[in-house]
Symmetry: C2
Subunit: 212 residues, 2 copies
DNA sequence: CATAGGAATGACCACCCGGTCACTTGTCCG
DNA sequence: CGGACAAGTGACCGGGTGGTCATTCCTATG
């Protein structure tokens, strides 16, 4: 029952989701569903809370494991894990994405600010940890950098589930390509965050005045 | 008539938009509207095409003006101009944002891929131009960087119109703060793109092995 | 077995939707 | 003025919506 409702909301958003379709697929009476959840909004609220609880564990696992690694490696791991999570829970991800843009999504303000605050804090802590390890430059504002990272990751996850948005980058294609593209994004971000000289050979001319 | 329909779609998205409300506000008969546009989808397609045409001019003006400036300045100008445009056309921006996440938005694939391709090309060209000027490091992949920039800008524009998403960054508050935050975002991006030594003094300790 | 009480049911409600079309109205020309 | 023809109208249609509630069914207990 929860699974089927979850799928309906994720596939159609809130307003386009149909209680009739849900009970039709489940082959139960409409009255039963309303007896449990009271209203469409009640059903949705219940589902969302469950989903939020479900997403917390993997996020924490990423943050608390392998704390010794330098920042770029950790960021890549975060990107990879998030990508895997979004692919494994496309419906949940779809709901979240919809809520971001749909002003009249019920409970939007409450639910969103809760999730967003947690996400940005997660990245800010990751960055500050990197700064303490000297793998992130100290003059970088953690909040600003967290914003950029979150925006990039969000777009990447959206792109990998929606070929229209991929725009030739390859996130929506096979796993190997996706992995490579995600790593490239993480690296491009790290370029700006790292204490200056990046490991890459910088193959072209040496026009820059102080490279390596 | 067009203005009122535009507003309706932007405020409610496609499916939640109501023809009845539009004709009600305009105080005209429903039949008239259908005589002109044939269907709801026809009306929307017409509106969208008009909006796309409208957006092209300012974008081109940004790209083709001040070509001599170094990349970071140009990027800041692009951010500022885009921010102003989104604030001036919140409805249009709302439609675009909705279309990004709503799978069943009619004509989504056609319209979106058209817009996205143009946007990403715009940024790629901006970066390549920066590389030719030596104000962007040569080993940066233009497509990847364009992706990151576009993602960040998109999130920033969303945040400035939706306080819930601002997450304490200050994009949704007064113009001065917003301007400063946009500049900070652009700078954070440029850190990674610039040929290495950034102008900023890097105030803290000199633990990094080769800073400045 | 009888029965009490909660759980399940689905016909039904009022409402709203996009879309139609027979009809009225307005306009312009001979 | 009269007629032709386009423009404008709004009652109406079939269908879908979230939600209700009198009724039936099931089960658990005495």
């Amino acid at each position: 029952m929860l699974d089927e409702s979850y799928r309906e909301f994720a596939e159609h958003g809130y307003h386009q989701a149909s209680i009739n379709r849900i009970v039709g697929r489940l082959d139960i009476a409409k009255g039963s569903l309303f007896q449990y959840f009271g209203s469409k909004e009640g059903l949705f609220a219940h589902l969302f809370q469950r989903a939020v609880d479900e997403i917390k564990a993997p996020l924490r696992a990423i943050r608390d494991g392998q704390t010794g690694e330098p920042f770029p490696q950790r960021l890549k791991r975060v990107f990879a894990a998030s990508s895997a999570f979004a692919l494994a829970h496309p419906f949940l991800w779809g709901i979240y994405r919809r809520m971001l843009t749909q002003e009249d999504f019920p409970l939007r303000a409450t639910l969103l600010s809760q999730v967003r605050a947690e996400t940005l804090t997660f990245f800010r802590e990751l960055i500050e940890l990197g700064q303490n390890q000297d793998s992130v430059r100290a003059d970088l504002d953690p909040a600003t950098a967290a914003f950029v990272i979150e925006a990039t990751l969000d777009r990447a996850l959206t792109a990998q589930l929606s070929p229209v948005l991929d725009a030739g980058l390859g996130l929506a294609s096979d796993p190997q390509t996706r992995q490579a593209r995600l790593d490239a994004l993480a690296e491009a971000l790290c370029l700006g965050f790292s204490v200056c000289p990046t490991v890459h050979p910088a193959p072209s001319t040496a026009k820059g005045d102080a490279n390596a």
